[in-house]
């Protein structure tokens, strides 16, 4: 398997792509019959949108010029493909999908943070806090799953 290599901008752009993809996924669930799910999905959509916006800003404003090393060891294409696959999967239940997707994002952020901490402290802090939010969403989703 050929190893993916990223510039920090291309890597962060892919994360924006993932966040936007997941936002769209939650947008598509806003019409769910269950009011509590609807409300949570709407909230999650806004969170993903906000994270995407922040990553884009951070990418533009915080890159430090002397640490622009190629980034390898994370496979974002694969992750994005898996998320897309889950979104399109008609067999999976909505909550199962959401949990899997958020777990995937959380794991990806954990992997990426270590790779970029020395390049952009701000980006790594942002991903840390985004990861915390992903974990909170997971908690909420798991609670909802228990309740249904």
């Amino acid at each position: 398997m050929s190893e993916e290599r990223y510039t920090i901008s291309s890597l962060l752009s892919r994360l924006v792509e993932i966040e936007e993809k997941v936002k769209q996924f939650y947008d598509s669930l806003k019409t769910d019959n269950n009011a509590m799910l609807r409300e949570n999905f709407s909230h999650f959509s806004k969170e993903h949108e906000e994270i995407a916006r922040k990553i884009e800003t951070t990418k533009r404003e915080t890159i430090v010029e002397f640490t622009l090393e190629p980034i390898s060891g994370v496979n974002i294409d694969k992750c994005l493909g898996e998320i897309e696959g889950m979104v399109l999967n008609r067999e999976m239940k909505i909550l199962d999908k959401s949990i899997k997707i958020e777990e995937k994002i959380s794991q990806l952020y954990t992997d990426v943070i270590g790779k970029i901490a020395h390049m952009s402290g701000e980006a790594s802090q942002l991903l840390l806090s985004s990861n915390k939010k992903a974990k909170k969403r997971l908690d909420v989703l798991k609670q909802l799953q228990k309740g249904l």
């Binding site: 290599r5 901008s9 752009s13 404003e61 010029e65 622009l68």
Partner: protein, 492 residues
Amino acid sequence: MTKLQEVKGDYGRLPLYVNGEWVESNTSQYQKAMNPAFDRPIAEVPFSKKEEVDEAIKIAEEAFEKWREMPITTRAGYIYKLKQRIDEHIEEIARITTQNHGKIIDEARGETRRLTENVETACSISYTLAKGEHLDQVATGIDETLVKEPLGVFGILGPFNFPSLAPFWFIPIALTTGCTLVVKPSEITPLPMQWALKAFEEAGFPEGVINMVHGGKEVSEAITTNRHIQGVCFVGSTPVARQVYKLAGEYGKRAICQAGAKNYVVVDEDADIDKTIQALMPSFFGNTGQRCLSGSNLVLIGSMHEKLKDRFVQSVAKMRLGYGLDESIEMGPVVTRRAKERIAGYIEKGVEEGAKLILDGRNPKVPDYPDGYFLGGSVFDDVTPDMTIAKEEIFGPVASIIKTQNLQEALNMINTKINYGNAACLFTKNGKNAREFRRRANAGNIGINIGIAAAMAFFPFAGRRESFFGTLHGQIDCVDFFTDKKVIVERW
């Protein structure tokens, strides 16, 4: 990966900025500014007439009298506003840098981020700077006070390779101290600085405090020799730096001349290979090798030669070339066709002198940009320190591998085989060797497990030997350059 949008396709004839207004030059001499990825003209650069340069300096001098009298809080206020405005334009400046210079967008963003740091640093020193020193009762009934006074009008002569950052090593601090400026950006890459000047205009700086003219050598000379100019800040090659320094001395001006380089990067036998290779990539090939802190000679100690060489070459060969506005691109073109030919000439010379060309980047395949000034990364092995490619500044994406037995030999090469002293880097896990290296390497910027020893704005951008002419360096160090000390001894 989609390509980012250019700010503009064509910037037309560049106006001068004089007395707070954009004005067209009266010159008939123009040069085209290019997009090097396409060999496409994107602007026309006027070569200002001497009268225009003199007029800009005269206006800056008139503005100086008012600017220096302004309360420090008001003057600092402009620098704070500048910071806000620069932040608003930062992405535009970055994209224009990629468009005009060729460097990839990450490097351009990195450059503009560093530019901002210099403005922030000026903000941070603006009040403390004005305070001076006072000693009560140095003799009976006598007090002594030291104040720092701004000197007047300074010229800033920018380089092509960091077209917006390098002028900003000086501009914010000069303005904070109360000096006024005439800036001449590189005639090859004038667009980033041209765009950055919008931020000054929008921050509402008083007329004449900062002015910009365009042109080449004649304009630099007209600035340096003008009797109203107090000094010049220059960044560029060693031959030109030497000339500017000489001229400044002849005319009794202050000068900071940051010059060329030939940087050694040494890899110790115990270095972490993965991390080292990652750091070597931007060191040797960042900015397409066109930076005065680039690695150029790669010294591999003992067994590291066999352990690292092939993996390094594989990494270099994998670099994606193209237009830097595509975020996935890892190396852009060099700045001009002439630069490409000059670099290729050095590669030819290396082969002639017996170095082994293990990766030849002279004819890269960049299908979408057939006319661009592209060179892939080139790597020589079996280079000896006396070869031309190991001694002269190539300023392009070429790495020369030199094998050596120990750190001592590497230090001897750095200290005796080149005349430059900009940077030297060591990759090691050995603290004793790291200490020995940073103490003994005769270079102004030292990297330990860092491939590009680029000082932040709140440290001087050092450099020594033929990499620097002057006594005070760029960035924070230039506070003393723009001011003079006045000592007042008082008895009442």
